[in-house]
Subunit: 310 residues, 2 copies
Amino acid sequence: MKIVALAGGVGGAKLAYGLASELQPGDLTVIVNTADDFQHLGLHISPDLDTVCYTLAGMANPATGWGRRNESWNFMAALGRLGGPGWFRIGDADLATHVERTRRIGRGDPLSTIVREFCHSWGVQHSVLPMTDSAVATIVQSHEGDLDFQEYFVHRKCEPKVRGFKFLGIESARPAPGVADALADADAIVICPSNPLVSIAPILGIPGVRNLVARGWAVAVSPIVGGRAIRGPAAKMYAELGIEPSALSIAVQYRDIARGLVIDRSDASLQSEVVGIGLRVLVTQTLMRTLRDRRRLARDVLDFIRAELG
Amino acid sequence: MKIVALAGGVGGAKLAYGLASELQPGDLTVIVNTADDFQHLGLHISPDLDTVCYTLAGMANPATGWGRRNESWNFMAALGRLGGPGWFRIGDADLATHVERTRRIGRGDPLSTIVREFCHSWGVQHSVLPMTDSAVATIVQSHEGDLDFQEYFVHRKCEPKVRGFKFLGIESARPAPGVADALADADAIVICPSNPLVSIAPILGIPGVRNLVARGWAVAVSPIVGGRAIRGPAAKMYAELGIEPSALSIAVQYRDIARGLVIDRSDASLQSEVVGIGLRVLVTQTLMRTLRDRRRLARDVLDFIRAELG
């Protein structure tokens, strides 16, 4: 069974890890948001890609979800002494990823090629693709004006109230090599429990991708559990946009492209409403606190797909 | 007594440290070669400037002369795993200097401003000036063709035979702010025991600088002792250019701009010949193995200047 997973950062990476544990290399392709990529300190930084790759490689920092385990911080300390910006934390080993990626982009290598070779270096056996090799930039339209995504997300800690989002460059972006093929060939597509507004929306917004997902058999895992985001600002964003943060809102958001929704046991009471808007439902434990949780949720999702696909 | 020192990397930095120990802030300006600056990993790297600044700040690695003490190497290890170039070694804390300098050059700050502020951050109280804010690049004309300086110096370990040197951009370079004033105001100019061909020559080659040095009272410290370079490829270069590597050749090279030459005790037999070509001579111990050696040589040079200036 060939599976494509759509993922943003930490939450998506966890389920991608579970799926990678349950599927053979060649049967899983993870397509990752790059709209939160940004230039910082002159470096091209791809937060979601790195989180997914580090997680699949077993190199991720288990305490933070982002960055690398066993990391040292001498670069940041020395940068701070020089008065350089400290709001985006880059560990010494993590920095090599950004410097080498920036160097290779500078000489003309596509991001997708760089990611493939980085994954090979790190021993990641499953396929990880950026959604696009084109530059796409998430802009948070806030009550304080437009903010670059990392400025909003990291520097301002998601504090400004959001009014909407723009993905600059997305109309002219093209799916990265392999993205369209993987989606067209997939037996099923798993929309990971990443932020639908800023992690999944840009992937779906790449011209052609939404149709390929809708034509496939997609199942989403709700990132909202009991009215709260498992991680990150999704629930806060929904509330600020006037949408009730609930698994039901996730169902509404994905109803046109997904066939099924996976919701947490604590949201079991919403099951009939989700069914009512036309989605099949799996109720299970969706929180992933341990590596075992990731594998268990991946198995539940794959079993659900197999059962529904018949 | 106001002193200007002209310096390249490690050898020059040692005497600059000695001079800084003996002179009040405000009485010493160190003008540093930047012709071996280069772009690497997308970063603007200034090897000689960093060596001088780290040395004056007491932050230099005493084992290597370059880089920082108590350095960690996790960036290089991670870069190596990604297949990135490893021939130019950058420690984790050192990397902050390059990243922040590159960021600030990118936003339009002159190198001289950046160096001044870095020195302030590091507690360097004496004035350190790059020779120029313009881009100048040393090209080593070798029997294998033209090589960028760091390619020759670090990657190829000075192995290709040299035929000459070019300093690209030097005709249109301007002295950095403060350089001409410091030279014009100096009571004496100390040409540190740096490589005359690739460290001092570019400083003197900045339009206007050679005349200012010649009009001042300059004393050079020979980097050749007993026919060998104290450090680096100077003796090898002289030999490949068909010039005998000796303190006498240093005297010939500097005779038009210097009034005096400091030579090592082991070269005392050359004293009369150096005098014969018109330079005053100080014979002393010029090797600097310890911090005490640096201060002692600086005192000897300053005493020599005072005695000769009367």
